[in-house]
C-alpha cells in the first residue's frame, strides 16, 4: 500500500507493515457480509489488529450521474432519490434548489415550510435506519428492532403526505407536488411527540449502556484537525468538535427563520459519532414543531413550471445538510432540457476517506463500530 500524507496513528508496538507478510491475513469484508453493507473493505489483520484497510466501493454503482445527462429536469427526480431512498427528500433537496436557481422560479412560502418538515422527517427516518444497523453491528438486537419499528411512525406520516413509503419523489422545482392532507398538523404533532418520547428511551438501553460506552469510546478517534483536513462532513465532523451545519451556516428555504441548534461533541470517537445523529433526531423533532407552528395555514404549494424547463448557459452548486452530512449538487446547464453534467457530492463519499485512516491500528472487533459510525450509506457513495 501507499504512504499516507497524514502521519498515521501510532501503531501498537511490534506492528510494522513491511516485515510481517507471513503473519498478516487478508480478509475480504464484503460486499456480501453481514457487517459491511454493499461495500467491500479489504482488511489486513495481524492477530487482532488491523494493519491496513482499503475500502472498495462500487458494488452498487448505478451511474446516476450519467443517467441524469439524458433525462430532463423533471424526470430526473425519481432517479436522483434512488441513492438514498430512506433520505430521499434530502438527497433531492440540493438538486431541486439548483434547478430553481437555474430556471429562476420562486417557491411559495407554504411549500418551503412543507419542504422543511418533510426533509426533517426524512432525516429522522434515515437516522433511525442507520441507528438500527449500528445496533445490529454492535450485536444489540433490540437497538435493531426499536428504531426500525419507531421509524414506522414517521414513514406512516410521510405516506400520508407524499403517498409513498420510501421513494417519495415529493420535491419538485417550484415547490412540492401536492398539498398536505387535512388536519395534518395535529397528526404530525401527535406522532412526532410520541416519536420523541420513544427515542429518548434509547438512552437507557443504548447510549448510556456501560458496555456500549466501553466498547465504542476511544475507538477510531478522529481529531478536529484531521476531520477538517480529510474534508469529512455531517455527524463525523461535528463529533470531532467542528461547529458546522449547513442548515445554520448557509440556511436554505426557511431554515433561517427557525431556531436550529447544532449538536457538537468534542471526543471524535465512535461513541460521539454515533450519538450526534441521535441528538440530531431530537433537534429535528424540535424543528418540525417550530415549522408546524410558523407554517402558513393555507396558500399555494407549487409554482407551475413550464412543461419542459430549460436552464440557461450556467452552472450552479447548491448544498444542503442531509442525514449524512452536506449533500451538494453541481449542475452544469447548456440551455437544454437536460443537465449537461450533474455531480452529486454526497456525505457518504466524503466521509469514506476517513475509513482507512481510522481503521488502521484498530482491533478487528472495532471494525463495524468504526465503519458504521462514519454515517456511511454505501449506495449513496456509489451513486
Amino acid at each position: 500500500m501507499t504512504e499516507q500524507v497524514i502521519p498515521t496513528k501510532q501503531m501498537p508496538p511490534g506492528l510494522q507493515v513491511e516485515n510481517i507478510d507471513d503473519r498478516i491475513m487478508t480478509l475480504n469484508v464484503g460486499p456480501q457480509h453481514p457487517g459491511s453493507g454493499h461495500m467491500r473493505i479489504i482488511v489486513k489483520i495481524d492477530g487482532d489488529y488491523i494493519v491496513d484497510a482499503d475500502p472498495d466501493p462500487g458494488y452498487v454503482h448505478r451511474g446516476e450521474e450519467k443517467m441524469a445527462e439524458s433525462r430532463n429536469y423533471i424526470t430526473n427526480i425519481p432517479h436522483l432519490e434512488r441513492p438514498v431512498i430512506h433520505d430521499s427528500c434530502n438527497i433531492l433537496y440540493p438538486y431541486v434548489l439548483g434547478v430553481e436557481d437555474l430556471v429562476g422560479i420562486e417557491v411559495p412560502e407554504r411549500a418551503k415550510y412543507v419542504r422543511v418538515i418533510t426533509a426533517e422527517l426524512n432525516r429522522c427516518i434515515y437516522i433511525q435506519y442507520w441507528l438500527a444497523i449500528y445496533g445490529i453491528f454492535l450485536g444489540h438486537s433490540t437497538m435493531f428492532m426499536w428504531p426500525a419499528g419507531d421509524r414506522e411512525l414517521l414513514i406512516d406520516l410521510m405516506e400520508k403526505i407524499t403517498g409513498a413509503r420510501v421513494t417519495h419523489a415529493y420535491f419538485i422545482p417550484g415547490g412540492v407536488r401536492n398539498d398536505v392532507p387535512a388536519n395534518f398538523e395535529d397528526v404530525c404533532l401527535r406522532q412526532v411527540n410520541y416519536f420523541e418520547k420513544r427515542i429518548k428511551e434509547y438512552a437507557d438501553i443504548f447510549y448510556d449502556n456501560p458496555i456500549l460506552k466501553a466498547r465504542t469510546e476511544d475507538t477510531g478517534v478522529l481529531s478536529k484537525e484531521d476531520a477538517i483536513r480529510l474534508g469529512t462532513t455531517g455527524s463525523v465532523l461535528r463529533a470531532s468538535g467542528v461547529d458546522y451545519d449547513i442548515r445554520v451556516k448557509e440556511p436554505y428555504d426557511v431554515y433561517d427563520e427557525l431556531d436550529v441548534h447544532t449538536n457538537v461533541l468534542k471526543a471524535g470517537d465512535s461513541y460521539a459519532r454515533s450519538k450526534i445523529p441521535w441528538l440530531d433526531m431530537l433537534e429535528s423533532c424540535n424543528i418540525i414543531r417550530q415549522a408546524l407552528e410558523k407554517m402558513p395555514k393555507s396558500g399555494s404549494i407549487r409554482t407551475k413550471l413550464k412543461p419542459n424547463p430549460k436552464g440557461g448557459d450556467d452552472e450552479v452548486y447548491r448544498r444542503v445538510e442531509s442525514g449524512r452530512g452536506a449533500a451538494g449538487c453541481h449542475i452544469i446547464s447548456k440551455s437544454k432540457p437536460e443537465p449537461y453534467r450533474l455531480k452529486l457530492s454526497v456525505g457518504s463519499f466524503r466521509n469514506l476517506i476517513a475509513l482507512p485512516y481510522l481503521l488502521k491500528g484498530e482491533k478487528l472487533g472495532n471494525m463495524p463500530a468504526v465503519y458504521w459510525s462514519l454515517n456511511y450509506w454505501p449506495v449513496e457513495a456509489d451513486r
Binding site: 458546522y244 452548486y317 452536506a326 452544469i332 432540457p337
Partner: protein, 191 residues
C-alpha cells in the same frame, strides 16, 4: 415535454468557449470579490475569474498552474477542504474540465463560501487512461480530501492525476474495458 429528451445530445451546436462573456450583471458582492482578488493579484495572467456570485465564485486556472494556485489558496485563504471534484467532458473543445469546489470549516465568515477552482486538460479521442496527455497534477498534497474524488474522476473521465499515490479504480468494476463512462461519447443503451 418534447421528444428531444430521448435523443442523444446534439453535437451540431457548439456551445460558446469555456468562458462566456460577462453580461450585464449586478456588481459583484464585495466580500466574495475580496478573496478572489487575492488570487487574481497573485496569478494575474494564469487565472481568470468566471463569475462572482453571492457565496459562489469560480476561478479558471491554466492546468500548469493549478497546483501552485491551490497551494496559494491553502496557505493564504481559509479554504481548507475540497467538497467535490467534478469532471466535465467538452468534446467540442477537445478538453475535459475539472472543477474543485473548495469550502472552509475553520473560518466562520467563510462558511457560506464555495470557491470553484476550475481547469481544463486536453482530451484525446482514443483515451488510454494514465498513458496519454490527459494529465493533471494532483491536489492531494494541498487538499487531502480530494483523494477519492480524484480517483473517481480518473476512472470516470480518464484524467490521470500525477503524484496521486493511489490511482486505481474506485467505483467501476475491475474488468471495465470500455471508454471512461462519463465522457460524452460513451452512450447509455437506448439513449
Amino acid at each position: 415535454m418534447s421528444k428531444a429528451e430521448t435523443t442523444p445530445p446534439p453535437k451540431a451546436t457548439p456551445p460558446p468557449k469555456a468562458t462566456p462573456p460577462e453580461k450585464t450583471e449586478p456588481p459583484a458582492p464585495a466580500f466574495e470579490k475580496s478573496y478572489v482578488d487575492q488570487i487574481t493579484n497573485q496569478f494575474s495572467d494564469d487565472v481568470e475569474v468566471e463569475y462572482i456570485k453571492e457565496n459562489r465564485t469560480r476561478v479558471n486556472v491554466k492546468k500548469e498552474k493549478i497546483a501552485e494556485v491551490a497551494k496559494f489558496i491553502k496557505d493564504n485563504t481559509p479554504f481548507d477542504h475540497a467538497e467535490s471534484v467534478t469532471g466535465v467532458d467538452f468534446p467540442e473543445d477537445k478538453e475535459i474540465g475539472v472543477v474543485y469546489h473548495l469550502g472552509s470549516y475553520t473560518d466562520d465568515t467563510y462558511s457560506k463560501q464555495v470557491l470553484a477552482l476550475a481547469t481544463r486538460v486536453p482530451r484525446e479521442e482514443n483515451p488510454n487512461p494514465g498513458n496519454d496527455s490527459t494529465k493533471l497534477p494532483s491536489l492531494r498534497d494541498m487538499f487531502y480530501s480530494v483523494e477519492f474524488h480524484e480517483r473517481e474522476v480518473f476512472e470516470m473521465l480518464g484524467v490521470y492525476f500525477e503524484s496521486h499515490p493511489d490511482n486505481r479504480r474506485l467505483l467501476l468494476p475491475e474488468d471495465w474495458a470500455d471508454l471512461p463512462p462519463l465522457r460524452k461519447d460513451f452512450r447509455n443503451k437506448g439513449r
